[in-house]
């Protein structure tokens, strides 16, 4: 049924036409050339909380205490429609008393009458408020996701660029880079797997897992339960990874009998402090590096990121690192 037929039905058999109009799910008005309502449907009455009696015969801008007195809409109906035959999905933002601020998509068709010159408008309105809100939320989410992805790529680039090539074969470079890359991947895995607090024990255990080929060498001693936040996870994992690779290259894990003791305690004073200790035993004698390399800088900035600091001690009986960082009130 085209619009002209539809209009004829409304004129010729009003009761039947009203039934048809009422089945249309979207609010619908039929307006005469004076913008007076000739017919309205149930969806219109329900959406705008009015009844048929106070609607039919009224002028559009006087409806419901003037809630449709929207200058933009009047201009549209009085000026635009006479020149064209239809307006499709014209967006109007309006504060409807009792409904609040809504975004309406208006579609208006001018109906043509072969028998006389009367102008009639069919006006339908779709409440797109929720749809617009969802679209905005989706855009925000996609923007955020894109931003995080770029950040992650920048992190990987930083590791690839800063992992030293000096005195290394291509294979050694690859191993060093992938070690750091995997530490980053593991930190992400743990963060995604745990919805609530992330246990310190699990973080240490999983970060050191690749180095436990000779498991008695790493002695992990549980201290008081500590739950880490996702923001603490990545820096701490990277620090542990750097300590472990250094131990393999220059420290206790470079010798068959070398051992590492990892333990921690929590100080409760005015604020909670975690003291995490990494003690290498029976390793080679070590001395501080002559140049501060990327690894050492990484350990320092990661500790600063945790709001704490790290002490690196190269004296006998073996290399020792002590990380001090504040804990949230968990």
């Amino acid at each position: 049924m085209n619009l002209e037929d539809f209009y004829r039905v409304i004129r010729n058999s009003h009761v039947r036409a009203q039934g048809i109009v009422d089945t249309v799910a979207e609010p619908l008005l039929v307006l005469d050339s004076e913008l007076r309502v000739e017919a309205s449907n149930r969806a219109f009455h329900e959406t705008f909380k009015v009844d048929r009696d106070e609607t039919v015969g009224e002028r559009l801008h006087e409806l419901g205490n003037g809630q449709w007195d929207i200058p933009e809409l009047r201009r549209l109906l009085e000026e635009v429609i006479p020149k064209s035959t239809a307006i499709v999905d014209y967006e109007v933002k309006h504060d409807f008393p009792g409904l609040g601020l809504r975004t309406m998509l208006l579609t208006a068709h001018r109906l043509y009458h072969p028998d006389n010159n009367a102008r009639t408008l069919l006006l339908s309105m779709v409440d797109a408020t929720e749809r617009r809100k969802r679209e905005t939320e989706k855009d925000l989410l996609l923007g955020e996701l894109r931003h995080r992805m770029k950040n992650l790529l920048a992190l990987v680039l930083a590791m690839a660029r800063q992992t030293s090539t000096e005195g290394r074969s291509a294979e050694e470079y690859r191993e060093a880079f992938l070690g750091r890359f995997n530490a980053l991947v593991r930190a992400h895995d743990i963060a995604f797997a745990e919805s609530s607090g992330i246990g310190l024990w699990d973080v240490i255990e999983q970060t050191l897992e690749p180095y436990k080929t000779n498991s008695p060498a790493v002695m992990l001693e549980a201290g008081p339960a500590v739950a880490l936040t996702p923001a603490q996870l990545q820096p701490l994992s990277l620090v542990l990874h750097e300590l472990a690779t250094n131990a393999v290259k220059h420290g206790a894990l470079s010798l068959p009998n070398g051992k590492i003791r990892v333990h921690w305690l929590v100080e409760t004073g005015s604020k909670k402090l975690l003291r995490l200790s990494w003690q290498e035993i029976s390793g080679p004698s070590v001395s501080p590096p002559k140049v501060t390399g990327f690894g050492t800088r990484l350990i320092q900035v990661a500790a600063a990121e945790l709001g704490g600091n790290v002490e690196l001690n190269y004296e006998a009986p073996g290399f020792r690192a002590e990380i001090t960082m504040p804990l949230g009130s968990i």
Binding site: H147, L155, L157, P235, L298
Partner: protein, 121 residues
């Protein structure tokens, strides 16, 4: 003019990467700082840097206030952002600022900073 650069970036590894690149090329790095508060304090306290390199989204908000403080001191700034139009996030003051992008290409970073340094003379 002394090659000094203030780095404002809240992702510590990215900040370290940028700092190391620039240090190797003879720049003295101020910071890196991770927040608006730290950046403003650093600008208030001492010598102004010759140029600044800014991330847009910081933990305590967009970098706008830092850009305004730099403008007031006539310090040119360059942004390092994944946003193609940083002014949409950080306000009009960022419109037209050179963007070295994120991830940041090393050659582009060095070229754009040298150019900014030239313009500050």
């Amino acid at each position: 003019m002394r090659k000094t650069v203030l780095i404002v970036e809240d992702e510590f590894l990215i900040a370290l990467d940028l700092a190391l690149i620039l240090e190797r090329r003879g720049w003295s790095v101020f910071g890196p700082v991770a927040s608006i508060e730290q950046a403003l304090r650093l600008l208030d306290d001492g010598e102004a840097p010759a140029v600044a390199l800014l991330d847009i989204n910081l933990a305590d908000g967009p970098v706008t206030l830092v850009a305004q403080a730099l403008r007031a001191k006539n310090v040119p700034f360059v942004v390092a952002s994944a946003h193609s139009r940083p002014e949409l996030v950080g306000g009009e003051i960022l419109a037209g600022a050179p963007n070295v992008g994120k991830p940041t290409d090393e050659r582009r970073l060095l070229a754009v900073l040298e150019q900014a340094l030239g313009s500050s003379n």
